[in-house]
Subunit: 414 residues, 4 copies
């Protein structure tokens, strides 16, 4: 199998050992974290834990895995946490961990609860001095999102939101190619994120994931546009390096539903380009079909999450190119190479992309990654997602009128 | 190589010989036709002639191939027309052909001139008793289109518009699958028709095709939406069996251009489904990328013109299916099988799809094809295209507002 | 639609008019031909006629379409031949056509009979002064093949064998890329030609095509290796520009069959490269799956007949390239561009590839095409195919031993 | 995101806790293991560790990561091992671990050294009472392989060989479909495993991986056939459930090399089917292109490692099917579902396939997995691979003669 000497350190996690960015004290080993949510029966909690394990620079040391104390403790045992760190509630976890000596105490929390239970633990954790990694979307309402944002500013704690798809290497490659300017300006973007797991009325019954996601009191006002439309919008802004400035959206839903399960939008980009976006959870045959085409003056770039290891680049006057992921491929950009774990032809997938988010945020927590894009979605990115959602809902309520997005609600710079 | 006995007649053109549908008189052999336009340097004229040759039930007997008499006559000689039937103008051709005895005289004309030279020869030909096959779009203005339509009604002559893409077998298969109702209702359609041949400012210079297509006085008010957006809209209505009822469109163009070269729309279907449409001639890397996805309650159907021999059908609970074109495939619908010239695995393409339009119209001229869809775009279909274009232009002029389409401008039934 | 001025002549067939290569007399119009075989119920006859029609430089003027006189005459009427040129036998056709004045008389014959009825009419036609285009394989035995070859040498008549697949533009592109030397030497070839139409025992019943192809007395000693293995071998030699020098083959068949329906071989190329070949008519799910990979020192080239408009070129240190067919693509080689009828994105298929063979042989008959590869398979190519078949059968009979191919049985140079 | 309640336990690793299969004593938590080899600069060691982390039922507690004691200890620190368990040699590790109390002591070793350093540590580890997981191929010679096999029999320790590719879910799906008998017997297999990382002479210089792999004293007699041909052969036998009984192989190498870097074979299967195999490390443009087609009486199955989440199944009389990986897909077999970590559309790749091997062997170590195929390659499988290699080398040395494989060299039953 192919080998690159310089890959060895990354693969073996050899760069954990460094100094704390603030105190200068040596910090050894992985970031110790506690998980909030993610007990038995939850999907995304397991994904976070596996991603952290692949990343190699995180160590799960505590958990408050359910809102039901008994279940929380039982779930902790299930995943191998010591009894005394499988807590009955996240409040208990925050309190008790603070009593531990710093070198044992958790350093960060991962929040994988439903959207309406993001803000309270996130804010409390930051107030208690912990960094936070939080499943997207940031919150169930703009108010809650702003409260999280303000807490982060106030406490100076670090925060990441897991927009998984920007963790893929070939997405970074597309971003870098566009940012290089070699292809000129962005003319048009076509993005879709379509699934079919809610395609039938009965999908709302007996499905924990489905239940809260289509319940406005838990998921917020938005369904598919909140759940996956925000991923699509985030991907657009990440890859183009531009902002969605205005849009015209129409959201719909199957009979009997209260929030959107399907919709589409036209949008404008800050650089003058135009775009279309489709987000749906009722389009039969599409499993998790996030796909984006970005047409620039001199090339068209195409990436699809279900075939994540290739990036197609079309030209007018020469053959189409297929760029392949893989450690050691000299033609890939540094940011892309930095997230390749395996040589070309050994496909990496969703869990590795997720791990790249953890890896980058772990390095950030350790005071690394001074240069370039952070490698994870920031609070500013997440607020952009909330604003995209607000504008989409407002546009749709107004019959598909054009609505402007407020550029930066937080006052922070991206 | 595989064989189907019942394909032999179609392949050999053995069914030419039949009776005139009106007079009952026996009519032998292929439909004799004259071509208007399509001289040296024109692309689409050659396509029409090759399509007619593949179809097998047409015979070119006359031509007025250019608006310049000398060039018209020279072009006629070039393609092997006898001198006395290579006319200097279409007026001359109509007059002179009428002087020939009926069994030698041309029976129909094929009009392959720029959009603004469609109406006059079409109307005159029908007045003179000739049937007409005409390159799309029908005309450069709604007025001209209505004039053609009225002439057809008045004279009772037959007329076809060459919306090529509905000639593909797997498009017919998609239509038949949806029409069968087995997949339920149409929820969402995503269609794109994108090219890159006008992606640069210089593409307007020294290119006969480009020149008239981006000149409002020749092409009408619409550029890309007229040239290829109408193909996309026609494909949507053909495959779904529904009508586009309202839309919200935004058309744009490169700096220095006078008519649209790029645009997108949201639209509604008469059955309640929603859709998105992208039409552009400036998206780099896309050659002739007409692609459609139709999501129904129980399946999603996907077809792409550049890979025309397959139809992908996605389901939620069972494997995705790839339906393959090919004579003798028992699982294909009769309408699909009727246009297969070769066994599975022997790909047919654009010219064969075009030939299917000719074949079907030729059979119609001969009084055949009583049942089912006509196999070519009718005047009603063409008027729907004009209305799609009008609504798109109006919506875009009004800043992307929603505009209703008038259901049937002609008073005729589809 | 894109346009290339310089394509007009080719499309319109404007270059028919030229001089006879031998007499210098002006020859106008298409090559007049008569067909032997190809009556009702035959597949390949219709393909030849359509191909000739697409080519544009051929005109069907006579036929002896069946070995049964009544059927021959009826089939002639079916396809629109005048009664006096729908002959009852090929002997009659040769005799009677010679009585016509030269400017009306047919100039060539197309032979589309079963393999065991190739030699007699081919030799007689050449003796009578007609050129010959003949469906592959050349004959049912080496003796018959040599007899045809000797007749061609003796009479000086022109002869072509329709190895269809070398008519595809992207096959020519692969050949030209390899011949340019830019990729170095050929290391390894993997070719397959697999079908499934004989996958069941019952496929031998009630199928005219199947019946003769699996009957040694009509098809010769070889089944699948003769029918399609020779296509694969021809493709290898055409694309690489090398010869298969030795091979080790194992041919098999389903129970109850008398000749091979499946087999594989290892082989050596004259340039030192190695290869594998699979030919089968019993591999379920493969319709007409001719596919070839040619690995050179610096690139790997991949082409598949069922997706004929692209050529994939893989490199070690840069992105994979997809080369696209299409008139006007500046990056394609002249030989490839010369057979493009439509712009990029308007797919051409099997019938157009077949038409390219007719077109090239028609130009050869008219004394054109002095340079480059002939554009059709020559008698030397066909004899190579016979030799490949002989060696494969001998190797298989000897339990998969290695067998040398005689380099050139005819004494002629390729 | 889709959810399956019953996936939760697997994902969270909740089934670690069980009884020791022999003593009946309760065994909690993951299998504690030590690694031999895999220090800085080695690729495959990092893959094993990440795979074990994803599997969730393994815990790295010790290591002897290099044959150089200082480097071994430094590498141990690099990957976070405590100083006292980062040993200077594997002998030291075995000795010292035995001194630890059983509940802390490692239970198994993972051997990731060059092929010629497999046997000694494997045998010593088993003699010392440890289970063994060993990178493929089992050893550098038949003698060494037999010695390992005999040690396993003698000691009763468990042993697994990491033939990664059988860990992919869709490979298991293909196996289960064929084993079900619904498609009839296997007629023909075409398998290839091709890479390009040794395509240039210079690839032997300055590349640790390359150096030992092309050195007979370290890798054994076989190069590409040993390194990846054995993977291909193992995949054939795994998927078909049959054995390769005889073969005819030709191995070659670039000028200046001592062992094969490229080759191909014809082979026979125990059920009567035939096959072709290509294994090469010099085919440019192929990164890690393991691909297999298995043609049965009623279907053809196709899988490719670089697109591992789909299995294509072709039929003669109905549409081709694309089977998709994904937790919760009811149409997949139990063995396939058991290795799905993510819902459909969230691609899993090479590391997850590798993790499946670890997961299964970990369960075996814990006395689980009583039913079905073991989920990892056994010593018998590995000996089959050695025999495949022996026969290939012998056939090639004898000029491509047919050679029989000894069915079972070990006397054990598969």
């Amino acid at each position: 199998m192919q080998e690159n000497e310089d890959r060895a350190h990354r693969e073996t996690g050899a760069d954990w050992v460094n100094q704390d960015a603030r105190s200068g004290a040596p910090i050894c080993g992985p970031v110790r974290y506690g998980m909030i949510g993610g007990g038995s029966g939850a999907f995304i909690g397991g994904v976070h834990r596996t991603a952290a394990a692949i990343a190699g620079n995180w160590q799960l040391v505590a958990g408050a895995l359910s809102s039901t104390p008994d279940k929380a403790r039982a779930s902790g045992a299930d995943i191998g946490l010591p009894d005394d760190r499988a807590y009955g509630s996240w409040m208990e976890m925050l309190e008790r961990e603070l009593l531990l000596p710093p070198h044992l105490r958790m350093e960060a929390v991962a929040i994988v609860t439903p959207n309406n239970v993001h803000a309270a633990p996130a804010i409390a954790a930051m107030e208690a001095g912990f960094d936070v990694i939080i499943d997207k979307p940031l919150a169930d309402s703009l108010n809650a999102a702003h409260a999280i944002s303000q807490a982060a500013s106030r406490t100076g704690r670090r925060i990441a939101i897991t927009h998984t798809y920007t963790g893929y290497g070939m997405v970074k490659q597309a971003r870098d190619l566009i940012a290089s300017g070699r292809f000129g300006k962005v003319r048009r973007v076509a993005v879709k994120y379509t699934q079919d797991w809610l395609s039938r009325a009965a999908d709302l019954d007996n499905n924990k994931q489905a239940a809260w996601r289509v319940d406005p009191s838990q998921a917020g006002d938005a369904g598919a546009f909140g759940d996956i439309g925000t991923h699509a919008a985030n991907l657009v802004e990440y890859v183009t390096g531009e902002r969605i400035t205005r849009l015209c959206a129409e959201l719909t839903m199957l009979p009997g539903r209260r929030i959107d399960d399907d919709g589409a939008a036209l949008f404008h980009l800050s650089g003058g380009g135009k775009g279309t976006l489709i987000a749906s959870q009722v389009l039969v045959g599409d499993s998790n079909d996030l796909a984006i085409s970005i047409y620039c003056d001199e090339a068209g770039l195409h990436w699809r999450q279900e075939e994540p290891t290739t990036l197609r680049v079309g030209y007018r006057d020469r053959p189409t190119e297929i760029w392949h992921a893989g450690a050691g491929r000299a033609y890939l950009s540094p940011a892309t190479l930095a997230v390749q774990r395996t040589p070309g032809g050994h496909p990496e997938g969703y869990l590795e992309a997720f791990a790249n988010i953890y890896r980058a945020f772990g390095e950030h927590v350790r005071g690394r990654r001074a240069d370039g894009e952070p490698g994870f979605a920031t609070i500013a990115d997440a607020l952009r997602g909330m604003e995209f959602l607000r504008a989409s809902l407002e546009s749709s309520r107004r019959g598909g009128s054009w609505v402007e997005l407020v550029e930066d609600m937080s006052g922070e710079q991206r």
